[in-house]
Symmetry: C2
Subunit: 109 residues, 2 copies
DNA sequence: ATCGTGCATTCCTTGACGGGAATATAACCG
DNA sequence: CGGTTATATTCCCGTCAAGGAATGCACGAT
């Protein structure tokens, strides 16, 4: 699993949705399929990507596979983010302020 | 700019490298080309993706275009991350601990 | 052993992405 | 205006990711 695999995995909206679902609680595939409105194969493929990125783990429970979040990769993201925090979070936001002179339209959900 | 555009922009290693370069200071395109070892057109295309994701802004300086980071989208990432922090950062890491019983291999840089 | 359930994998097609080469555009200089 | 520098855009191509349909596989029940 590379760093890029992690970013790529999260670049897909469906996969972010799955990750959000798994934040609430571990779930078997069937539940994820239903919640996401994806087909079962498509869901399995997304889960594979998440697995290979290290974001989720599987526990086998009879015929079901219960997926759960693995905190580590998300913590890695947090670590990646750390150097950028000063841009908006610390007193050195003079840089951000300088940028804001030009234009300021934060736009995301 | 969608949320997905932001993740997609950062999913590319070259673009993350560019973002890291711009964290140090704003830079004209030529400097980025040289630092990344990419061709000039390729660099311009990556910069376009970053621009459309809202991650960078351009200031025109004579014939040069000086790119600088925009903190807002990265702050948005940070906000996205927030709900996950409890997974490894708070006292409720019993969940993480339960996962660690299965296997524990944090592997990323 | 056989069947049914839950999930994974493969095949196929389509659309997006990335790189190189060439070209276009814009700004400055004389 | 013509030329040069700095950057953006286009065209073409190879590669890769995503979705649907069909199939394969593992486990449990009977």
């Amino acid at each position: 699993m590379s760093d890029t695999a992690l970013w790529t995995a999260l670049a897909d909206p469906h996969r972010r949705a799955i990750v959000a679902l798994l934040l609430e609680r571990p779930r078997p595939v069937g539940e994820i399929v239903e919640a996401c409105g994806l087909s079962q194969p498509s869901t399995s493929k997304h889960l594979k990507v998440l697995r290979e990125a290290g974001l989720v783990r599987v526990r086998q429970d009879a015929q079901r596979r219960v997926y759960a979040l693995d905190p580590a990769p998300i913590a890695a993201l947090d670590a990646w983010l750390a150097p950028y925090r000063r841009l908006w979070n610390s007193s050195l936001d003079a840089l951000g302020r300088r940028l804001d002179e030009t234009d300021a339209t934060p736009d995301d959900t």
